[in-house]
Amino acid sequence: MTSTMEFKKTTLDNGLTLIGEVNTSAKSAAVGFFVKTGARDETEQVNGVSHFLEHMLFKGTEKLDALQVNEAFDRTGAQFNAGTSEENTVYYAAVLPEYLLEVTRLWIELMRPALRDDDFSIEKNVIKQEIAMYKDQPSFDVIDRCRRLHFQDHPCGYSVLGSEQSIDGLTNRQMQDYFGLRYVPNNMVVACSGNFDWDEFRSVVEKPCSNWLGQAVARPLTYYTGSRKKERLEKSSLSCEHLCFMSEAVSSQDPRRFAAYLLATIVGDDVGSRFYWELVDKALAEAAAMQFGPMDGMGILCSYICCSSRNMQTVMSTVTSIFDALDRDGVTPGELTKAKNKILSALVIKNELPMGRLLDLGFNWIYLGQYRSIEDDIRAIRAVTVDDVNALITQLRPGDFTQYSIGPGRSI
């Protein structure tokens, strides 16, 4: 399958990069607009603006209102959406090949939105509803709070959604200013994957996007190792304990990121990991997982555990002994081999879908300015040794973490 893939790239005079990976054996195509902006690019005062702006792009342009935008998308049958994180805002659509150009033209138009006052006011309600929705999901809330505790005042700790207060205080003018600074050609990548014709795609994108202007922008990178603080919130309405641990890890640019993925899989994959055998298999915790979150210039290892209050003490002492053993003895060759098998098969399966491939394609360009084929990643994962993973453990000390817990009562 992978041998039929062909990489394409062009850069417009204004700095906008277009990339594509053509796979003529796919039944669909996926297109994405990757904007290198997210919560960490905000100030405390306008926290939540990146995500709010993502919603506002669907509200239309000078020519199209929100209902027309939704109708235009639905006419293509696209599976489309957008997402905002700490450092990226991504707009994407998966479509049948015959609708790719139509949906691409639509996205291009939307990238230059009207940002009308009345749309802004009504969407503010929707954003506040979204904040309320996540408040009712402690498994999400605890990670958001732990991130803030871990990064303290560093912008990487800002909440993607913002708070009710910051959203209340936000003005449309502030959003327009933010848009003008961040949605500039050198800060965006247009990517396409799957079954499509590159020349056609390029010609559809090139002309309208060449008119995009804006001063080049860069993200200042300041490193922060994390606070290692511990905090707890009690809510009597809850039934379970929700725990989050966060510690320093390598960045999206760091070649050791593959070792970090393997480390997180060995420690906290949802089955077969150390967390699994010590916590879930023994029914001490209902869920226990660790994920590696590489970011621009830094990274995190983030663990989430859900357990009953009764088991909280035992869970905490088990977690301590898992990390102590990791620090003392490192990982075993058997564990590394299993983790590699799992990651490699997940990689192959995910990349069978043009939509799955699009995200890797776009993010590799955003973070590395580089095309990486699936084979490049497979080789990099295969090459990781036990010593590589153990060196990472020695350097990062994952047991020395920031900790946030939310639970019904009885503090630890």
């Binding site: 039944k27 669909s28 049948l96 408040k135 809850l238 929700h242 299993k338």
Partner: protein, 397 residues
């Protein structure tokens, strides 16, 4: 055992499912949640391997397990690189035919099922939809697929073992595979693995009564979570495709009625959507919305208003968008071996045959404004069953 296969070009993966007739609705009375205990327990050692050895063997193949429970089946399956299919099937045959079901592994399996029920209290979005099905479908069809705390607390290893021996009925099991595989080789292997086991038919489910129209569960959360459901035609009904198109007009995309009226025009919710849900015995259209307490009543009223307004008329444009949306999602799903293995197994259980993608496309294509309206008028939404979780009750008018 029925063996179904769908080969796919251009993939290196293969996905398979064993649909075991041990779903929530067909378990004995008083054992709600036993399916979750079973789905965990059978993986805790099988054949010649103990718990740890079995887990390591699965991980060694780099396979990603899938376990799901619905009202009719426990489905155990996996997706993996195609070259490891044969050893994976050997391991799954052990799970199904030779699970060790050791006493000391029962308690953690049961505890995990209890913890999952407890965790549901902290996930009201998920909980409201489970409670809704319980309220809507005649008992026992709507039984919680997660389980009931009180019933799990009294569940014994002996009872659970008995369920496994009665319900892991090979003659009633559906096996489906999709992706890259050799069908003859798979059939031959399964014949060898499962040849000695043949059992009789399972008893059909006796249906009880439906619960009341409205249930409120109090919780001091930030939102009121609203679940709503109304009766509709089943998958084998002649009006099925018209119904699917109608649900798509209501909630297929962002230009569909619910999103437009509830979120875009009124800003009442972040999340609102309706979908078609069918069991073999009954079907419904389900709808979820989450909103703050001050907006809960208006949200419900607008949603019910939109359901009822559908039969008044739909435009050709709405119909066209609904059709292309349904067709595109069908084709996009057909690129995923996991989706296809699930879809062909589901079809066989519901219809006794597998529909081709072309057949589905053709039937969606054959719908018209007139046929959809006729279907809506033939099958008017009579009653709405509503469940809310939150600090505020609503009134069903």
């Amino acid at each position: 055992m029925v063996i179904l296969g769908e080969p796919m070009d251009a993939v290196e993966s293969v996905a398979f499912d064993f649909m075991l007739p041990a779903g929530a609705a067909i378990l004995p009375q008083g054992c709600c949640g036993a399916a979750n205990v079973i789905a965990d327990w059978v993986f805790r050692g099988a054949g010649c391997r103990d718990n740890r050895q079995f887990g390591d063997a699965l991980d060694g193949l780099g396979l990603h397990r899938s376990i799901s429970i619905n009202s009719s089946h426990i489905t155990v399956g996996a997706v993996l690189e195609a070259s490891n299919l044969a050893p994976a099937l050997d391991l799954y045959a052990d799970i199904i035919l030779r699970p060790r079901l050791e006493q000391d592994q029962f308690e953690p399996a049961r505890q995990l099922a209890i913890e999952a029920v407890r965790a549901l209290d902290d996930d009201p979005r998920h909980k409201v939809m489970l409670e809704l099905r319980k309220q809507f479908y005649p008992s026992p069809l709507g039984r919680s697929t997660i389980g009931e705390m009180a019933e799990l607390e009294t569940l014994t290893a002996e009872k659970t073992k008995q369920i496994v021996s009665e319900n892991f009925n090979i003659s009633q099991t559906i096996f489906s595979v999709a992706g890259k595989y050799n069908f003859d080789a798979v059939c031959k292997q399964l014949e060898n693995l499962f040849e000695t086991n043949n059992q009789g038919r399972l008893e059909p489910i006796a249906l009880g009564t439906k619960a009341g129209r409205y249930r409120h569960i109090h919780n001091e959360g930030a939102q009121v979570h609203i679940g709503l459901m109304t009766e509709t035609v089943k998958l084998n009904h002649q009006d099925y495709y018209d119904t699917r198109v109608a649900v798509s007009v209501l909630s297929g995309g962002m230009s569909a009625r619910l999103f437009t009226e509830v979120r875009e025009k009124r800003g009442l919710c972040y999340s609102v959507g309706a979908r078609y849900h069918s069991l073999k015995e009954a079907a419904g259209i389900t709808c979820y919305a989450g909103t703050t307490p001050d907006k809960a009543q208006e949200t419900l009223d607008v949603i019910i208003g939109e359901f009822n307004r559908l039969a008044d008329g739909i435009t050709q444009e709405e119909l066209d968008r609904a059709k292309i949306g349904l067709k595109a999602s069908l084709i996009l799903q057909s690129e995923s071996s996991i989706s296809r293995a699930g879809a062909i197994g589901g079809d066989y259980y519901m219809l006794g045959r597998v529909r081709s993608l072309d057949e589905v496309k053709r039937k969606v294509e054959a719908t018209s404004v007139d046929s959809v309206l006729q279907c809506l008028r033939n099958n008017r939404f009579k009653d709405f069953t509503v469940v809310t979780i939150g600090s505020q009750e609503v009134t069903l008018k």
